[in-house]
């Protein structure tokens, strides 16, 4: 939307010094089966064009943190700012509109819509946004698939592709609205090493050549090792 500085007297205001996402003092509890604090006082910042990975053992709260950063989980304490705008306490529909425009997702289980072609899968977020005509969106989606080496698969149903291909389609879908941030939840968790390599290279290229900000949760050490910055979590806290 804009890069204006939003000042907030109660919390430390994020400054527009290349910081695209920041959190202050995020706490999160699970109540079922017993009360349990998953995130403790998490505060960190993500800079523009950064390829950031969040690592940690299972149960360390890294996925929970990502879902809060993604604005899908709204049940937390503390503040979340994306692009200088506060996300906390916005309505579900406002958050949906923000996700549509500013955030792209890549999941562990590629999660494409099986009944649609790859091209259509890529087009859907842009069709929802509705800023371009259908023709322009189609051209753009095709271009994205081409960029990821999937131009020849464009018109196949999504379910007919291999896992690695599906994950690349998912990346193309995440890119279609030129989002501020791409978020990945174990984006390589379900792939073999060859496809992991391809996905990682794709991320790296996006980050370095196109200035794309990427946040990925992973427990793949190789993947994390090659990223710009690693945030390590343990028992709901950032330890490094």
């Amino acid at each position: 939307m804009n890069n204006d500085i939003i000042t907030n007297s109660t919390a430390s205001p994020p400054r527009d010094n290349g910081i695209i996402l920041s959190t202050t003092n995020i706490d999160k509890y699970f109540y079922d089966p017993i009360e349990f604090q998953v995130l403790k006082n998490v505060s960190f910042e993500v800079k523009k064009s950064e390829l950031l990975t969040i690592v940690g053992k299972s149960g360390s709260g890294k996925s929970t943190l990502l879902y809060i950063l993604s604005t899908m989980d709204t049940d937390y304490k503390g503040q979340l700012y994306i692009d200088g705008q506060i996300m906390t306490n916005l309505s579900i529909d406002q958050l949906a509109a923000i996700r549509n425009e500013k955030i792209g997702f890549v999941f562990q289980f590629h999660y494409l819509l099986a009944e649609f072609t790859c091209l259509k899968n890529v087009m859907i977020p842009a069709l929802r946004l509705g800023k371009l005509s259908e023709k322009e969106i189609e051209a753009k989606a095709y271009h994205r698939l081409e960029m990821l080496g999937l131009a020849d698969q464009a018109l196949k149903p999504a379910s007919k592709l291999s896992g690695g291909q599906q994950q690349r389609v998912a990346i193309a879908r995440a890119l279609i609205n030129d989002p501020l941030i791409i978020m990945g939840d174990e984006p390589t968790g379900n792939l073999d090493s060859k496809n992991t390599g391809i996905v990682f290279d794709t991320f790296r290229e996006l980050s370095h050549n196109y200035g794309q900000t990427i946040i990925a949760v992973t427990h793949d050490e190789d993947f994390a090792g090659k990223s710009d910055r690693i945030v390590e979590m343990k028992d709901g806290e950032i330890i490094s």
């Binding site: 949906a96 999660y111 859907i124």
Partner: protein, 407 residues
């Protein structure tokens, strides 16, 4: 095309079989609903047609008055009160003027005076009691459609023959009378006259066929030993028989006489019609409701199957109302297909029944294409499919994507 519609379309086409089954449910429910409602209207009409062969929509007459106590005093406890019918003639005063007043009402179609003369049909020593109805033949025919019930002779001949009589089939059978024979009657007032049988009618209501006969108005007045101004009843037919109660109230105000609608005089018929309508409406609505449950079920299943898709759509920025729209569109598409098919099937069913010969004095089954019932069915069908879609759609809109991705 809107992306929500596009997604709904893809889901429908992906589950063609399910969609077809759900649509078939609506189709059957719809057609049965419309068909049964047309059937009720046909049955009601055939019953009321029978009623109107003998009864006018509204009967205006001078009702008996009960005497009232002269003194109204609560303190004097010893007044003996004995209410009785006031002894006076029950004629309508100046019937021409009353008829003219009634005819001025815009709902009124036919007005005709009538004199009822109780009498005996004499056959040698034996007598059959009965009722001669004095009428103006052409007006009465418009009102009761007497000609359609004639089995022998000519009703028209009554017009030109002042001593003519048209008798019920039961009377003709008992007394061995045929057209052209003479019939001697004695009225309750002791007048003895001989009539010539002009025709025989048969209403299939044996109580009428065995007792009733039609004579000219003047003849009936003579049987009652009265003059030309003696009219006991004025019968009124209106354009829409269902409005009879309303119009009768107006007529009672206007004329000062008692105006009785057919609904009042044949309460049991009205009640039976109502009962039939309740049963049929209930049954047909329930069938449509069951079809609605079919849609509900299938959409619920679709929502469960597509829960990952819904989570994805919400993650990439679809709002709750977008999701609702996707599933409502599916429901309404199924509904629309079912409704259109249902209308066609209903038309076919009604057409088949219309061409079914049932015999008797009914002939072909008297069912019509009731436009209002078709519209009602379509609206009802679409409302039910909307509701059947709304609840699964709401459920889909409430899906929490995080809960799905965490699994």
């Amino acid at each position: 095309m809107n992306i929500n519609t596009d997604i709904a379309k893809t889901y429908i086409l992906a589950g063609k079989k399910q969609t077809a089954v759900a649509a078939l449910g609506v189709l059957l429910g719809m057609s049965i609903y419309i068909f049964m409602n047309c059937l009720i209207m046909a049955l009601d009409r055939s019953v009321t047609t029978n009623v109107f062969k003998n009864t006018s929509h509204i009967r205006v007459y001078n009702d008996d008055k009960i005497s009232k106590e002269l003194v109204k005093d609560d303190h004097s406890k010893y007044i003996i009160v004995n209410p009785k019918v006031v002894p006076r003639s029950n004629t309508i005063i100046d019937p021409q003027m009353v008829s003219a007043t009634i005819l001025k009402q815009k709902e009124v179609a036919v007005v005709t005076p009538q004199v009822n003369a109780p009498l005996f049909y004499n056959n040698g020593k034996s007598q059959i009691s009965g009722l001669a109805v004095g009428i103006k033949p052409s007006e009465a025919n418009i009102m009761y459609d007497i000609k359609s019930t004639m089995v022998d002779g000519d009703f028209e001949a009554l017009k030109t023959n002042p001593s003519g009589i048209v008798i019920g089939a039961g009377i003709s059978e008992k007394m061995n009378l045929s057209v052209g024979d003479n019939l001697n009657v004695t009225s309750a007032k002791g007048v003895n006259r001989t009539y010539k049988v002009m025709g025989i009618f048969k209403t299939n209501i044996s109580a009428l066929d065995k007792t009733k006969s039609y004579v000219n108005l003047a003849s009936a007045q003579q049987l009652q030993k009265e003059g030309a101004s003696y009219i006991t009843d004025i019968n009124v037919n209106i354009t829409n028989p269902d409005d009879a109660i309303k119009v009768s109230e107006v007529l009672a105000q206007l004329t000062g006489y008692k105006a009785e609608s057919w609904q009042e005089s044949s309460e049991s018929v009205v009640a039976a019609n109502k009962m039939r309508a309740i049963v049929m409406t209930l049954v047909s609505s329930l069938i449509l409701l069951v079809a609605g449950f079919g849609i509900y079920n299938i959409l619920n299943m679709t929502v469960s199957q597509k829960i990952n898709d819904i989570a994805i759509l919400k993650a990439i920025g679809f709002k709750g109302k977008d999701v609702v729209r996707i599933f409502i569109t599916q429901a309404l598409t199924i509904g629309a297909v079912g409704v259109i098919g249902g209308v066609f099937l209903a038309i076919i069913l009604v057409t088949i029944l219309r061409n079914t010969y049932v015999g008797g004095d009914i002939g072909y089954f008297p069912i019509n294409y009731e436009g209002r019932k078709f519209v009602q069915g379509v609206v009802f069908g679409l409302v039910i499919t909307f509701l059947a879609g709304y609840f699964p759609a709401k459920k889909a809109a409430r899906v929490d994507p995080v809960a799905i991705f965490r699994k």
